[in-house]
Amino acid sequence: MSQTDLHDQADSMVYIVDDDPSVRASLQDLLASVGLASLAFGSAREFIDAERPDVPACLILDVRMPGLSGLDFQQEMARLNILLPTVFITAHGDIPMSVKAMKAGALEFLTKPFREQDLLDAITQGLARDQERRKAAASVDALKRRHETLTDGEREVMELVVSGLLNKQVAARLGLSEVTVKVRRGSLMRKMNADSLATLVKMSEKLKVVNR
């Protein structure tokens, strides 16, 4: 593994996995010349074992490598839940392979030697996509944390309220007084930071997607 000197203060990271040292070196230098920090690995295994900084990132992956091939590696990443936009580079790109890579969610498939602008464009796009994904994931995380602060009683009320029941009906369903339901509802709206029923419904949908 080697890293560029931009690494410490980096707000984004490009990972390079390629078995050829000169390709790695030239890619790192190219990225450095446009101010992008990078980490390079000689094999897929090294990359998986390495500790990676918690910043928006993107991966440049050589398809044909000894050991784990690039396409196998992409499947392995999906299994390990490493969600990184991936740019494939290959010295012998053929159509079936690129179709497979695209289906597996590759961002771009470039044949060596490629135009460096194509690579940089793909990386910019990849980093933007990863940032969005992280933002979305972060907001779901915050929501989850807020949901965890609710009491069991409040959670029950929330479930019935978002399913469209009125306070009176909720009270009947849970065997509580309508006043208790109103108090719990007010408190859960505050804790979830929801300003309306519609917002609360949306939040509950997002939580359901995550918990599925």
Binding site: S22, S26, L30, S33, H92, K112, P113, F114, E116
Partner: protein, 352 residues
């Protein structure tokens, strides 16, 4: 030399058949010596073509009948049954042996065909791996070039970084040329595995692989191999590859020619006591002087989808066998590719 050997073998075979018949005649009718004629048939299958084997079997059966007639001692009825058993054994053996040898021949042909396909595939594999090897440093060069331009475009230009990038470009360029040098070295050191070969057999085996293609393209094949050629010491697979390459080229050259003029001529003569001369002629449109100069270069092809490898490989094979290869175009049309191989006159040490 071949012919005298064959005659000698036939005489021995006949002697064996007569010997068995003689013993059959002098022994009692109850002793079925005639059944040993199957040995004659089994030997004949190894050295004679199918029709001749059938002839031999008929002779053996006739001898068995004659010896039954001539035998004086023993029980006639048992003798008759023994003779019939002998005849059935000879007929059955002949039938089975001929079928077996036909199957063996098919296996040989198929194996040769597969070897040819494997060679073509290997060439494709080789090309792919060369492309991969050379592409790595090229990718690094292109990327470093891009990086270098960007370092120079910054304000102020980052010259140390740009210099580093250029140094990497130089190193990677050397690496690419090292890879190519290594490949050339590999190609040169691949020594052919030479063995004694019969010229006519080698040529016919190679051209047999073309039978389907020739038939499809309605091409008449004329093979003239001079009688009594000495054997050659060569790598069978490689020489057949050269023959196939040249014949395939000839077929390709005649795709636009009228059907009744499509003739592929293959000639082998003894040019001098030390040299065999092979010639492959087509009736295509021939080659211009500049094409003739370049056809043996790698990656040069006159065909729209040609790889430009066939003749380059043929040349390296022939040169590795201490031969020469060249092309002549003759008016009004067609080209003839010639190659020579050293001949070995006099008895070879280990005939094959």
């Amino acid at each position: 030399m071949r012919r005298t050997q064959l005659t000698l073998r036939l005489m021995l075979l006949l002697g064996l058949a007569l010997g068995i018949a003689a013993i059959d005649t002098v022994t009692d009718l109850e002793i079925a010596v005639g059944v040993f004629q199957i040995a004659v048939v089994l030997i004949a299958v190894r050295i004679l073509p199918a029709r001749a084997v059938a002839g031999v079997a008929v002779i053996c059966m006739a001898l068995t009948i004659v010896s039954y007639r001539l035998t004086r001692f023993g029980d006639t009825e048992a003798g008759l049954i023994n003779m019939l058993i002998s005849l059935a054994a000879i007929a059955g053996t002949t039938y089975l042996a001929l079928r077996l040898s036909a199957a063996v021949r098919t296996v040989h042909q198929t194996r040769a065909h597969l070897a040819h396909i494997a060679r073509i595939n290997m060439l494709g594999e080789l090309a792919a791996s060369i492309a991969h090897e050379v592409n790595q440093p090229l990718a690094a060069v292109a990327t470093s070039g891009g990086a270098c331009l960007r370092w120079m475009a910054t304000e102020p230009p980052n010259l140390p970084k740009a210099r580093q990038a250029v140094e990497r470009i130089i190193a990677d360029t050397h690496r690419a040329s090292d890879i190519i040098a290594r490949l050339r070295g590999m190609a040169r050191h691949q020594a052919p595995t030479k063995q004694w070969l019969n010229v006519a057999d080698t040529v016919n085996a190679a051209l047999r692989l073309m039978a389907g293609e020739l038939n499809e393209q309605n091409i008449t094949l004329r093979v003239q191999v001079q009688d009594g050629l000495p054997p050659m010491l060569a790598d069978e697979v490689q020489i057949q590859q050269v023959i196939l390459n040249l014949a395939m080229n000839a077929v390709d050259a005649m795709r636009q020619v009228d059907v009744d003029q499509r003739t592929l001529q293959f000639q082998v003569t003894l040019e001098s006591p030390q040299q065999l001369l092979f010639a492959v002629s087509d009736q295509g449109s021939g080659l211009s002087a500049s094409e003739r100069e370049r056809v043996f270069d790698a990656f040069y092809s006159t065909k729209p989808d040609g790889m430009g490898m066939g003749l380059a490989i043929s040349r390296s094979i022939i040169e590795a066998h201490d031969g020469r290869i060249w092309v002549a175009s003759h008016s009004p049309s067609g080209s003839t590719f010639h190659f020579t191989l050293p001949a070995v006159t006099g008895e070879p040490n280990e005939p094959n």
